[in-house]
Symmetry: C2
């Protein structure tokens, strides 16, 4: 069970979380709970570190921010004990949750679940684990996994203790076919394949951290996204609670062709015009961008008409737009382009579905439907289980609604 | 160097602490710094634990409250690095600071200073250590030393790294002959012996935690009490800063007869009348009090006139007054006393000085001076280096001023 910052924002909510855990314990389950810091706490700690010195030692940053989860793990252990449940808190270094040395964005390298499992068996003791943190054992220093890392902690712990399932309690009751604020008819998916969820998460459906989905996929840990606002007493632990199960493809009986529509307005487009169509030209453009740590997303290069000159379009996060333009301008001589144009008022709409693999013409339907709405498609990229379209930002909602209806995702 | 909660209450003050440390590093010293939590933080964490459950697991309490010092140790390390000083934070479990398993009031059992010393030599690295906390190694759990424990951490670390001195930065600039708020002419002591400081600290001069003074005495670590409000830039690191050195008796050239006057109004007096003067009667009274964990301070029993009946008076902290009365009332049959009377409006005034050992008649002077002021002495206890008088609380200030002048402690 994993509870995020809003679920443990104060003592009353921590008591509510304890009731959720009690329900599962009473149903006979062995439980490990992973908690985030109280909402707002991590931001406060980060602000202090930044105020002390904008360029601070990531090792010290980690020691500071990891304290937030330490507090909630202890408080939840106390709340559970007050309900008569055996429980103890675990810090990352106590288990230990071993990580790489990449402070502030460490990767989990290993977790030994033996002691936790032993305590389940011998004492029915609930393990309350501080999320987001670990230890780099060679140096003995506290590490953190980066923002949203508690999801990753939870899935990794679940794998280490061979859990049947990893329940992620969030402020939504599952994964939807698209953002319900844009499409009120969006429906909750009962099941979604890891691969599909990966595409949705990285495309802006911010329910889960991408890394946690990757981990779930690699270790085949079913991840169940459910609401932390459901009242513990209303839930039948033996029933099927509302939520979305993220699982392997094989466990989904009937794959829909399209599972969901994701979109992101946080995009900027840069087009480089009339570059020579010769080997090494892509490297000349994207090398300097990579050196500047600019995340390039879509890349579109068409086959040139005359075999001599071509255009190349790519997108970057809107926050990196200016840096990206500067980088390309500085590299103008090396790249040898004639002109550069760019836009920030663009959006990316993506259609995701494992069923696409075996269905032809899925994208073609979209092109037709959008053209009927007079929505111009600036660029297209495709992969095996999704395709993405770059359009004018003003048309985002219209495009999403159109595609949602087109692929039969509207709630009955 | 040890800095308390008010000295690290916000980032600006943490930067000021960093300047104090820089001054010592620039003067060529190897420095270990022990820090408390930001003022108010520990109270907040304790309140959360208590709100979650009034009767909470002390092991979880420790995990929760230790987080406060974790944050300040990281922040100070960052602030030092920003000044170009090599520094790193150390949590209790990282050094490790080994303690007993008595959670929330653990005792330090061992500290290995080798790694810290190695880093002084090899990298001139300042060790920034989270005070108040340690680890019980057999269970691997975080422990805390009890309120004010950071002073104890500091002296223990100083002993482990063979420090020349342990500087405790506080909100006062040293130890005074008595409370300057009561006696404006009170003067700062340049030096005071460990034994004297122990008597003063336990008698209510709350400059230092008693245990830290005991530790300093046992390991012969000179403890220097100085002000954290002095501006770092105004201090000559090679000069003699204002403050009080607590050291072994031998290092004080000329012992004064009386060093200081301590007092406490937080006292309650209970007198048990007409008890049989026979063996075992003291045990019958103090046994039940000890069982109830009531701290008895002064005990006065006079030789009975007739060899048959006597009276016995003792004091307890005012906060334990009602419980103590109940305990004695319940044990009435076993003790076999005729009456019990009690008072809460009493104060204890103590006169302390190592020189008393070799000077007769020191107490007699006090009795005379107080009687001239019409101050009635309710009870008297004496030890080798101090004597304490129980008087009506209303006369406390008058008595302290009278004795301060009597023993020549007034500032010239």
């Amino acid at each position: 069970m994993k509870f995020g910052g809003t679920s443990v924002a104060n003592i009353e909510r921590i008591r509510n979380v304890a009731q959720h855990v009690k329900r599962e314990v009473d149903a006979g389950h062995d439980v490990a709970v992973v908690v985030s810091a109280m909402s707002g706490k991590t931001n406060e700690l980060v602000a202090w570190a930044t105020e002390t010195s904008p360029l601070h030692d990531a090792r010290e940053y980690d020691a500071i921010v990891a304290s937030g989860e330490q507090v909630t793990s202890g408080l939840l252990a106390i709340a559970l004990q007050a309900l008569g449940i055996q429980a103890r808190s675990w810090q990352g270094w106590q288990i230990p949750i071993q990580t790489s040395e990449a402070h502030a964005s460490a990767r989990i390298t290993g977790i030994d679940g033996t002691e936790l499992i032993k305590r389940f068996k011998e004492r029915k003791e609930v393990a309350v684990i501080a999320g987001f943190q670990g230890i780099h054992e060679p140096t003995g220093r506290i590490t953190t996994l980066g923002r949203g890392g508690s999801d990753t902690s939870a899935v990794a712990i679940a794998a280490a203790i061979h859990a049947d399932r990893c329940d992620i309690y969030t402020d939504v009751d599952g994964v939807y076919t698209t953002d319900p604020r844009v499409v009120p008819k969006a429906k909750r998916l009962e099941k979604v394949a890891f691969e599909e969820m990966l595409e949705m998460a990285s495309l802006g459906a911010k329910v889960l951290q991408v890394r946690s989905v990757e981990l779930g996929m690699v270790h085949n840990v079913p991840v169940f996204v459910r609401s932390s606002f459901d009242k513990p007493e209303d839930i039948d632990p033996h029933g099927t609670p509302p939520g979305t199960l993220i699982c392997s493809e094989e466990e989904i009986m009937e794959n829909q062709v399209v599972t969901g529509i994701a979109f992101s307005k946080d995009e900027a487009q840069i087009s480089v015009r009339q570059i020579e169509d010769k080997p090494g030209i892509a490297a000349a453009i994207f090398g300097p961008l990579a050196d500047a740590s600019i995340n390039v997303d879509m890349i579109v290069q068409n086959v040139s008409e005359d075999g001599k000159y071509t255009d190349l379009t790519f997108t970057v996060p809107a926050s990196e737009y200016n840096r990206a333009k500067d980088t390309i301008t500085k590299a103008k001589d090396k790249i040898g382009y004639k002109a550069m144009d760019s836009a920030t008022d663009v959006a990316k709409v993506s259609v995701i579905g494992i069923g696409m693999r075996s269905h032809a013409g899925v994208a073609a339907q979209a092109f037709k439907a959008l053209s009927e709405r007079n929505i111009n498609i600036r660029a297209i990229t495709t992969s095996e289980i999704k395709f993405s379209l770059l359009i004018d930002a003003a048309y985002t909602e219209l495009a999403v609604r159109t595609l949602h209806t087109l692929y039969g995702l509207d709630q009955a």
